[in-house]
Chain length 123, copies 10
């Protein structure tokens, strides 16, 4: 996975920096390619985060997600990669990502990863 897509992501300042509040984002239209077979994979992404100084701008997030459409990506790796990218961009207090992939071979797979900022804990 190339990192050029990382630059697509845009941010804006947290409008209530003093308060721990949660932003939940559901993206039902994630699609990438299976690195082994080249066939399309589909997933629903659930992102939850508590912003620190920055929030993710949604239009840029949409473009970032689309950039995976022609990339080969393993389930476990791509979920962790998206988490790493978003954390690198906005350094949130907390973030979790769940990727719920469509059935393949009679098997459904969800991958969930989370990040907690060092020194932060739920107030």
């Amino acid at each position: 996975m190339t990192d050029s897509t990382f630059d697509i992501l845009d941010t804006f300042p947290n409008p209530k920096i003093k308060r721990d509040f949660t932003i939940n984002i559901e993206i039902p239209e994630f699609s990438c390619l299976c690195p082994k077979t080249g066939q399309p994979d589909f997933a629903v992404l659930e992102i939850d985060y508590i912003p620190d100084e920055l929030c993710i701008e949604l239009k840029s997030l949409k473009l970032y997600i689309w950039s995976y459409r022609d990339q080969g990506a393993f389930h476990e790796a791509v979920t962790n990669k998206i988490l790493d990218d978003l954390v690198a961009k906005i350094s949130p207090r907390f973030m979790s990502i769940e990727a719920k992939f469509n059935v393949r071979g009679g098997i459904y797979t969800n991958v969930t990863a989370e990040y907690i900022k060092e020194g932060w804990s739920p107030s």
Copy 2:
């Protein structure tokens, strides 16, 4: 966002001030305008609170919610603004607000913020 709407909110005395009890209010008809594009946004609001000395009068809450209909409002900011207004009005022991916005660009966004009165904890 102007603050004139704040005065619309009315209150009544908590009928059981000695007990921590919870009032849950669901408002499926919140609508405001996107500050960037001017297009209507829609959300379902979920408000939970434990009153202290005052409760929110529901008819005035309805008018307060309608007052956003012609205002531009970012998702993250407006959720925190409503929480701030309601807390300023009735000073509850606890309050949380979840705003579940309709899909835009294939993305669903929920924003959740909460307030806990200093010195209060669940009995």
Copy 3:
């Protein structure tokens, strides 16, 4: 709200007094009148309790609930009143009541109150 209805409530001895067990009662047919407008209000009641020496007899509970049909009752007050009445009658180890009122003016309201007997804690 008059207290004559209180006498309708009947009880029977807890058949397993040594064990903390839970009785959940759902009453989808609660109806009273709005004290301001006189219009009928409807709610679903959810009652959970851990009995001590007495249990609520269900037929008498049905009659007690019907007695509100012609009374004016505010959401927050009537929920706490029912909890107070039932607690006074059977002195349970734990009781909670949730009243889920039908939509009015585009707003749904639930009120939840609970009681814990002094000196009792979950085993």
Copy 4:
């Protein structure tokens, strides 16, 4: 209801004019004002049509629907008005509109109207 909004509607040529096929459009975000009380009303619109020479362009339909946001409109009248406008614009072989309004005063109202072109019948 002024007719200026009618001009917002745009069209494009039917790509398969020889075949009777159906286009179903669901718009969950219709909002107007109650002419009596001025309070916001909300509805889900379901539009089904079989195009003749023209189809409705969706972005212009969205703008047309938004144009009702600040207009007073009775349920029965506005549903028939939207049907009349769309029929006048694209002269379809068949069109039906169902407007499902949110609950008011404990009552849900749906209004359904349809148009069949003279001389056309289901093949």
Copy 5:
């Protein structure tokens, strides 16, 4: 059942008299009394009609429905009575009423009746 409630019903002129269109009304809050036992009964009413020259005004319909709250009424009789009253008031081209009563003695009962104006048939 006294007929005084009949006068509560109000009407307004059909805004699109040339077209057969359907108005569907759901009333989840119908309540009356069982003539045998005096206990409250509850039902959801579904009314569908195609107006001729008059439509039912909804606020007056709400009051008409409330007027049954303290009347004894058998399931089969009350459904036909409401149909008769509404037909007498607005003389519609078509009307059907379904009354879905809450469970009693482990049995659910729905009663459905309909009226078709002499000389009218679906266009």
Copy 6:
């Protein structure tokens, strides 16, 4: 199956004999015994009928249904037997019965039978 239970069924006069209207009765608590194994069987009964001069009294229907609790009964036979009994008792214009039996051996069975009075057809 003995016929003594047939006498339990009671009737009352149709309150609107001039109109074809439908009474739907759902009984989720039918239980009988499997004639081969003696094990309990469970079914949901759905009865629809258009009364002629008589209606089924619900309390007697409940007792009639209970009378099967200790009888052996094959799925196909018992459904037709209940239809025959009810038709013999009230001679309706139309009646249908669907018996939806619980799963046995990984197989779900529904049996549906209907009766139409000679000379009657839907108006």
Copy 7:
């Protein structure tokens, strides 16, 4: 597909031969093998029939269905084969079979076939 399994099917006499009534059978546990890859396939079978002189005995139907577990079977062929077998065994007035196969390669397939006895038509 060998035909030895055909002999497993057992029958019993229709208890109400004078009436056209319907027996619906749902079998959620059909499994066979893909003839190309050897991998297990799974389907839900829905069988509807109007018996003539004979009904299918359910226990034998269960055994008949299990006999496919180790056979290779294409979706379209096996559905028609089961219909042919059951028709040959009981010669019903009407029978339909729907086989709803589990997703394979992101695609769901249902196959539906029906049989109508010559000279029979719905009464």
Copy 8:
């Protein structure tokens, strides 16, 4: 309630005695009689347990459950009785039983009781 039914229950050795694992059993077909009125009562039973040295054999559990079919049993008492019987038979590390009774008089009742072996706590 006689205790003869207790002997019906059969057991088998826990196949993984070193591990705390959970067995959940849902029985949608529990039926007994109301001791006051003699009318049938129906409930769904949910049993969860962590076995120690013995597990409940399911066929015997089915017979044990059927043995209540002709017994009078109060909701609160019968739930505790079943828990006592099963605990006496297999002495589990943990067991809970929830009995969800069908609606009676417009009221739904669930009774939940649990047992924890002395000296055992969740690992």
Copy 9:
């Protein structure tokens, strides 16, 4: 839309050519590009057909569907194009296609088209 993808489609002989039976295929993973904006579109395809001499081979259908992933395609045109391609390939007795597109701009669009072979009618 280039026609090269048409050659991907493969067929096999109808195993029961004497009977009109139906094959239903659901494809939840259709994706193409919006010709105006280049952004990904997503749809669920529902295909129903009654085969004549040929059936569609499912693996080749999957590849055919994937071939749209990088093509620009208007909703109305692409639905009719897929129907035309499949009809040209297998000349079925009947075929219908419904394409249910994901929400865009708060609007859901479904397009449904069908084909009936000349001289064929439902038996």
Copy 10:
């Protein structure tokens, strides 16, 4: 149960070994045989695990699951056996397995077992 199937399982290196993240796998197509009666059993398997150095390769997991198709297996034993096999293969930080078996004799059974690596605890 023979252990030859154990060798089918394949693994790949954890792509993010520093982070505790969760992989959820749902397999709706588990089937084995009842050791007592030889009849097919069906279950849905839910597997959750936090990988340490290795992840389970999904295609090999599918083959491993299929290998139970012709084996006799008791509910409680087979769930623990699958957990033991997977733990032995990839030595995860955490793993739980829930097997939800289809109804038999009117009883639904779920078995849930979990494994926690010594020395590991949720971060």
